[in-house]
């Protein structure tokens, strides 16, 4: 098996794993967490989650102005 074939298998594998993880997330969100925020095993965080300063508004806060 050549290097190119191994690379192809890795790419196909990564994509398949991504779809499987997505399906598991969807199943978990739909069946166990209905009505809540989508549940993710891996996700890219928002900037304000990294640099949260006490007093900042988050998604659950209600803007009363």
């Amino acid at each position: 098996m050549s290097q190119s074939m191994i690379t192809w298998c890795v790419i196909a594998g990564v994509l398949s794993i991504a779809f499987i993880i997505r399906a598991i997330e969807w199943y978990y969100t739909e069946c166990h967490h209905s009505g809540r925020k989508p549940w993710h095993i891996i996700e890219i965080g928002k900037e304000r989650e990294i640099f949260f300063v006490p007093g900042d508004l988050d998604d659950n806060d209600i803007e009363d102005f």
Binding site: S4, W8, I11
Partner: protein
């Protein structure tokens, strides 16, 4: 139209209407004609200015005693020909059947509630269409099957990433990379007699054809700003697509020519 409030309502409605037409992929000339047609039917004079991301509508009564201005951001409804056709039909209904303003607004709101085509339907139809493209370019049945599978995977990835609100340029790059890499399997494993056609046609579903066509139409009707904006958007997406395709070929060690 008898007073300023009515004129403002008409201007707001026309601006909403035009912003949705622009958002769903209508050309500038269509937006102009449709809004003028409706304004005429409502008995007001109107003028419209279409910018790449905003719409300005001015409406004034025939005697110029009352006027109103409305500005709307382009609606982000995605390219949708069903919505486009239904909104255009509404303008003809208003003009031909002399619908009153309240009925027109009611119908407009009803049109906006229309659900888009199902994602699975779109996914499979796009994959079949791309496989048909492969056949048009001379691909054999195995190449068509490869294109079908790679489009299915790439388009699904695109749907997932867009639903996660990822940047559209990153989405195009990733989708084209995976589609190209998967379709390169035909060449690597020696499947069929036309694997190069499968590789070339596997990313065609990502070509932003509507913005390119609309850009040409806008140039013809002298809407240069919109034309340039649409062309630049489409060119950036095409560049991302190309980078994804080339990266896939480079990683898998395929010959360029």
């Amino acid at each position: 139209m008898t007073n300023n409030t009515d004129i403002h309502e008409v201007a707001s409605f026309l601006a909403d209407y035009a912003s949705h037409l622009l958002g769903c992929g209508a050309t500038c000339i269509r937006i102009e004609k449709n809004t003028h047609r409706m304004a005429e039917a409502f008995g007001v004079e109107s003028d419209i200015s279409i910018m790449p991301t905003h719409i300005y509508v001015t409406a004034c009564s025939k005697d110029a005693a009352h006027n109103g201005v409305a500005i709307r951001k382009t609606a982000s409804c995605g390219i949708n020909f069903n919505l486009n056709a239904r909104l255009s039909r509404l303008s003809w209904e208003v003009a031909d059947n002399r619908l009153d303003f309240a009925t027109a607004v009611e119908r407009f709101n009803k049109i906006l509630e229309t659900k888009p085509t199902g994602k699975w339907e779109v996914l499979f139809l796009t994959s079949f269409a791309n496989a048909a493209f492969c056949r048009l370019f001379g691909g054999d049945p195995s190449a068509m099957l490869i294109v079908f599978i790679s489009t299915l995977a790439g388009y699904r990835l695109k749907q997932i990433m867009l639903s996660d609100r990822r940047d559209v340029r990153l989405v195009f790059l990733c989708a084209s990379f995976f589609s190209a890499a998967l379709s390169a399997g035909g060449q690597l494993f020696g499947i069929g007699s036309t694997p190069e056609i499968a590789l070339g046609t596997s990313v065609l579903y990502l070509i932003p054809g509507v913005p390119y066509i609309n850009a040409v139409s806008d140039i013809i009707y002298k809407h240069y700003l919109c034309a340039f904006s649409r062309f630049a958007d489409a060119a950036v997406l095409t560049a991302c697509l190309t980078v994804g395709l080339c990266t896939g070929m480079l990683i898998l060690g395929l010959k360029w020519f």
